[in-house]
Amino acid sequence: MAYTEDDLKKELETKEYEYGFYTDIESDTFPVGLNEDIVRAISLKKEEPEWMVEWRLEAFRAWKQMEEPEWANVHYDKPDFQNISYYSAPNKKPKYNSIDEVDPELLDTFKRLGISLDEQKKLAGVAVDIVVDSISVATTFKATLAEKGIIFCSISEAIREHPELVKKYIGSVVPQKDNFYAALNCAVFSDGSFCYIPKGVRCPMELSTYFRINQAGTGQFERTLVIADQGSYVSYLEGCTAPSRDENQLHAAVVELIALDDAEIKYSTVQNWYPGSAEGKGGVYNFVTKRGICEANAKISWTQVETGSAVTWKYPSCILKGDNSVGEFYSIAVTNNFQQADTGTKMIHLGKNTKSTIISKGISAGKSQNSYRGLVHIGSRAKNARNFSQCDSLLMGDECGAHTFPYIEAKNKTAQVEHEATTSKIGEDQIFYCNQRGIDTEKAIALIVNGFSKEVLNKLPMEFAVEAQKLLEISLEGSVG
């Protein structure tokens, strides 16, 4: 039967308009929901080249086929991915006009962490006229970095300015289809940091320590790419000890580290996002994929202090591909109230004479659940591979849980693998000893917890170590009973 004009008219009347979805790329916040148009729009907004758009779309298509992982030892209401706005420009309007309007409880915490007044204002979202110190410091350091040939900028800028580097390395450690959240991140990441250290250069400062104010607000789908070229060294710091009242429920970041021959990367994280109320309402879901690859004689060291978030799902890993490469993982995970953490690491030994060390300290209080989940894999060609793992858990109160799920796979006879785990509580005699010497119970617990975590705290850059120590204290406040 011939297709007549009437048929067409009829069809147009009954059919819903296929192209009805409208995205205004000029607006600051995108409508909720996720589809290919949104992915394209994010890319367009970031002025990204065509290959990047395709890369994102590929990830998005893969993500649609994937299912949310359920193996982790955490329970939460699944986020509705169609009910999230995937892009919103950084809010330029200050939340408060003066520091007096800020929640006094928040200010008190800032004070105890020893954060300067200017930083406090910025972090709380108070309008700041001139932050002379910060800005000038930032500018000076930017100049120093440029002189050494170090590239340190936002990832969007890097995609525009250094496409050859980004194209070569992005997705090389965490492929687009790696896992559910990594795929989602690849499709919709809004911003993040990019860092390139040229051959033989030793980065003269802790990257991002001094930029923590300026770099704040990079959003919920952060993407970090750190490349240390042959023989270089960099220490990179992420996060902030200050409590962040982030409204975003879901955070799915991806961090990729590439340490070429003889290079060393030290990556430290302090995470203190909103853990939800004491009754277990709200809080951030932190689903992060972090992985680094070591070429010959290279070293990657992960240090993390995790005190925030309602649900944490995070396994910073090292692929020890090159001979003589070294991977390290130092972690403190503190959970209180209704927080849940499932965190650990993967050490994949592929090269000869590779070494890895895992030190994980879990502290659970209140009604929280804290799990260590780790994998040590010794490939059949990894001659003389060596691993030492130690995971200790400290339980405070009888309603929390501590769990250990280590996976150890060895395929080479020269492998030497050791794994040790203990679970204990703070002894009454220890507390009594402190009380007897005039230290109140709360302080005594802080003292003991600090001692318990010392091995990991020592690995943090100095400025952060002090703050992190105080942070542990604050996180565990009120857990004694």
Binding site: L395, D398, G401, A410, Q416, H419, T422, T423, K425
Partner: protein
């Protein structure tokens, strides 16, 4: 026809051979439904991540044992611990062999599952205990569905079984591939003691798959020692599920000596239901070739003041694969628990693999729990020391390996059995030394 379908349809034929008007048969009917639903485990299941049954499920197994095949005692004498005076329950192709066995009803009951199921005087015990502690997974349900034969051991209150009890399952495989599903029940009363030795032995080159389930109930202050010898042919596979329920102040130990078999999977589950309990899990694994041994253990602490001790040693040569998956769960109520778990392994070849997963799940705060896992090699210095003193390399290595496994062997309480295990190890390591130094 797939093995699963074959088994499900065989169930109707099986019903014709047993009494269907009993409570047990309702359990069987329920179990076949569970098996139909769950089927055989796949590698996708976390508990079976490192062990695939694919290669052994492809055979066309005979499901029903034939009539008793005769075996001469002299032919199989070497599988018994002949210098040990013991009660014996012997099965050939799943059928009870009366002329090789030595059972008793004097004070204690050492007899057959089939006769216990048939006689009303045992029905109280059967109804109280049968299938109450066994897991409800696919393979266990399959065993439950076809459960009819196995060992039945009941020790009343305040009784010490004066002799150990040996349970041996032979398979002749005369008619080709064979599937055996023994089902054992051990009930030990208050203050009683018993020692049990279990062995599965294939006498054929044909593939044999044994899916064995044992339920053990240990009442207050009772002591049970259970020894499993697994030294089978390269084409015999074993899935052994043992579930143990313990009451207050009881001590139960299970020693598993895994020296061979195509695929050996041990599911060992301890459920503590009282205070002051001690659970002991020991294992020595020495395998080579393409053998695969998987130890999957669970200790569930539910009450305060209990202990558990796990010690598993493994030596893996050639292309052998070893798996250890140990789990300790400490409930909120189980304060003052002491739980220890240790898994040590030696790899002798680059093609051998060890996958170890020692897990702790702890919900109580006043506990002492630790686990350790190591993978390493023999100490070259120690070897050199021995060689410099005139001990051959092979013997030196064997001595070191024996020393490595020694603290597990030390805990064997029956001297004749210990002797036998020493000989098995010497044979396994290809040396002619006694180790009874």
């Amino acid at each position: 026809m797939e093995l699963k379908d074959k088994l499900v349809s065989s169930f109707i034929a099986f019903e014709n051979t047993v009494d269907v008007d009993t409570a047990i048969h309702d359990i069987r009917s329920e179990a076949i439904k569970t098996f139909e639903e769950k089927g055989f485990p796949s590698k996708k299941e976390e508990a079976w991540k490192y062990t695939s049954l694919k290669s052994i499920l492809k055979h066309d197994y005979n499901v029903f044992p034939r009539e008793e095949s005769a075996l001469e005692f002299k032919d199989i004498k070497r599988y018994f611990i002949y210098d040990l005076d013991a009660y014996k329950i012997v099965f050939i192709d799943g059928k009870y062999s009366s002329h090789l066995s030595e059972t008793t009803h004097d004070k204690i009951d050492v007899c057959l599952m089939s006769s216990a199921l048939a006689q009303p005087k045992y029905s109280v015990v059967i109804n109280k205990y049968f299938n109450t502690v066994a897991k409800q997974d696919g393979l266990t349900s399959l065993n439950t569905a076809f459960s009819n034969e196995g060992a039945y051991i009941q020790i009343p209150k305040n009784t010490v079984a004066e002799k150990p009890i040996e349970i041996i399952h032979f398979s002749t495989g005369a008619e080709g591939a064979q599937l055996l599903q023994p089902r054992n029940l051990v009930v030990v009363g208050e203050n009683s003691q018993v020692q049990i030795i279990e062995r599965h032995q294939s006498l054929t080159e044909n593939p044999v798959l044994t899916n064995s389930v044992t339920e053990i109930f240990v009442d207050k202050s009772a002591i049970v020692d259970y020894y499993k010898i697994q030294n089978d042919h390269e084409n015999a596979s074993l899935v052994d599920t043992t579930c143990i329920q313990q009451q207050s102040r009881s001590i139960a130990s299970v020693h598993t000596f895994a020296f061979g078999g195509k695929i050996t999977r041990n599911n060992l589950n301890f459920y503590q239901q009282g205070e002051g309990i001690d659970s002991i899990l020991n294992g020595v694994t020495i395998i080579e070739g393409k053998q695969h041994v998987d130890h999957n253990t669970l200790v569930h602490h539910t009450e305060p003041n209990c202990e558990s001790h796990q010690d598993y040693k493994g030596i893996f040569d050639e292309k052998a694969i070893g798996v250890f998956n140990g789990k300790i769960i400490v409930d909120k109520k189980a304060q003052k628990t002491n739980a220890f778990q240790s898994n040590n392994n030696i790899l002798l070849s680059d093609s051998a693999t060890i996958n170890s997963k020692p897990q702790l799940e702890i919900f109580a705060d006043d506990v002492k729990c630790s686990h350790g896992c190591t993978i390493g090699q023999l100490d070259d210095n120690a070897l050199f020391y021995m060689r410099s003193r005139g001990i051959g390399e092979k013997e030196g290595r064997a001595l070191l390996m024996y020393a490595f496994a020694n603290n597990v062997l030390e805990s064997v309480k029956i001297p004749q059995l210990k002797n036998r295990i020493n000989k098995l190890i010497a044979k396994k390591l290809g040396v002619a030394i006694g180790f009874d130094l």
